[in-house]
Amino acid sequence: MPIDTAAEVLANRRLSSDYNVIALGAPAIARDTAPGQFVMIKPSAGLDPMLRRPFSVFEVLRDASGTTTGLSLLNKRVGTGTSLLYDAEPGATLSVLGPLGRAFVPVDPPDEAWMVAGGVGLAPFATLAEALAARRTPMTLFYGGRSRQDLFHEAFFERLGARLVLTTEDGTHGERGRVTSPLERALASHRGGAITIYACGPTPMMRAVAALGARFTRPTFVSLEPHMGCGMGGCYSCVVRVHHGAGSHFVRSCLDGPVFNASAVVWDALASVGH
């Protein structure tokens, strides 16, 4: 059951001119959050902007004794609400509603988990990597961004035992190009056992990952990020078209997602929205 908390901004670390990690004192929500779930954040107390925004929970924060103290969000400044979150000062309070939505289901060994992140799409994978590490599931993070300064938290994933495959579009870090190129090569050359793919990032990237998952017959799950009005199933604004019987229909991504089996998504319908 979701709760709504007036959470204190514990810290706000600007990672670059447009990315930041904001830590929020919402321990009760953090304790209940499963990997891939999201929270609805009200970025201002006033009426402009008025609505909350959905964010994947990035990290579950704990103190030295292991007690959960809150959660963090990986934010990229792209509009009004995300700019307010980029600029938020420690000590301010923000309304946090959650946890919400369907989570990733982490696979158990000997299956492998391959996570594919594009830009701010890294957000749901910190908690997923922790859950996978706890199961001792072998994991790889394919992580792509525009440039060296857009890739973060590599050490966090390495500490958990993840193999990292990095790409940048300008070639300043890791392989030059898109994250789907090394993913495709790895899928083609893989001689081991079962793999489950988890992806989050720009829609074209997730669509490409979904196509690769289908081509190499690997189960693939994506975390979609449509616009949401309420996060609770009330408004029907966050719908995603999914295959249904012989046809397709709209389902609410706040309740039936944000994590979807990639093979269920009607990608043509999603792409036309222009996320």
Binding site: M50, L51, P226, H227, G229, C235, Y236, S237, F250
Partner: protein, 313 residues
């Protein structure tokens, strides 16, 4: 403790606060976090006879103090609602307002018949005001004859309280209230959303797939209050007022303007836990003003003694 109960036709509500249609799913979505029985009522998402897909995304866009929506009445149809949702709403003790739509008068009547035969429906809210669909709905709500015809036709097929939901997208909303009352409505509800548009100036494209959408939220509240006041002068049936209500003060303003009950919609998206404080706040207001029954507050605006300008600041 004041008496906050409200009579709407043959129906008695525990209090005057109802969750607005289109903003609360089918009610059951909120059952894990909200005690539905503690609300005056739950107005469920608009239902046609059959399932309906709705518009492609983007379906909502924010504007200052408001939002535009063009959901397009995605819905499961009345039969699935009766089979899959209504039993759960009954079990939860909700007073259910079923918002119904139609592309023809016959469809409205058929949906109303299905609901009349079901257990657990409190009232029918006739949606003759959705701005986001081309056929039916607002076609009836924007014509006095259409309003009269659809209300009187549904009146003939059901004994459930009928509450036409009026559109604000007309010149004289009070005349539509009168037409609805004359045709046998037990109450009226208003306002639905204001037809609106938002454009991305970089791409020069509309921000909604449907081009137009309905504006809701605090931005519309003063217009809605005025329209409720106008209707209160025009009809004797109860009025359910809505439009941008977020707080107890907002709800009280509608009651004083002439609403017997209120609906809260958009504010629920921002704060799904607003209900208990809102209802408790109405009770506290009545106590503070030594008013024993909420009904005694309805329409009690004093327009003869204008507020001195200095108290407004």
């Amino acid at each position: 403790m004041a008496d906050v109960s409200v009579r709407i036709g043959s129906l008695t509500l525990a209090n005057p606060v109802i969750a607005a249609s289109g903003c609360f799913g089918y009610g059951v979505e909120y059952a894990p976090s909200v005690n539905l029985a503690a609300l005056g009522g739950v107005a469920v998402k608009g239902l046609f006879l059959s399932e309906r897909e709705g518009h492609p995304p983007p379906r909502v866009v924010e504007t200052p103090a408001g939002m535009l929506n063009a959901i397009g009445l995605q819905g499961i149809g009345v039969h699935r609602f009766v089979a899959e949702k209504l039993p759960e709403l009954r079990r939860l003790g909700a007073t259910v307002f079923v918002n119904i739509c139609g592309t023809t008068i016959d469809e409205y009547c058929e949906v109303a018949r299905v609901l009349s035969d079901a257990e657990g429906v409190g009232a029918i809210e006739l949606n003759i005001s959705c701005p986001n669909i081309t056929e039916g709905g607002i076609q009836f709500g924007c014509s006095l004859m259409g309003t009269h015809d659809v209300v009187s036709a549904v009146r003939k097929v059901t004994r459930l309280p009928i509450i036409p939901k009026l559109t604000p997208n007309v010149t004289d909303v009070a005349s539509f209230a009168r037409a609805a009352e004359h045709a046998g409505a037990d109450a009226i509800s208003l306002v639905n959303t204001f037809l609106a548009m938002a454009i991305d100036v970089e791409t020069r494209r509309p921000k909604l797939s449907n081009v137009f959408g309905g504006l809701s939220g605090p931005a519309i509240r003063p217009i809605a209050v005025r329209m409720v006041y106008e209707c209160f002068q025009a009809v004797t049936v109860p009025i359910i007022g809505m439009g941008g209500i977020q707080t107890t003060t907002d709800a009280i303003e509608f009651l004083i303007a002439g609403a017997s009950a209120v609906q809260v919609g958009t504010a629920n998206f921002v704060d799904p836990f607003l209900w208990e404080p809102l209802i408790a706040g109405i009770d506290a207001y009545l106590d503070r003003h030594h008013i024993e029954r909420v009904a005694a507050l309805v329409g009690q605006v004093d327009v003869k003694t204008p507020e001195p300008a200095w108290t407004a600041f």
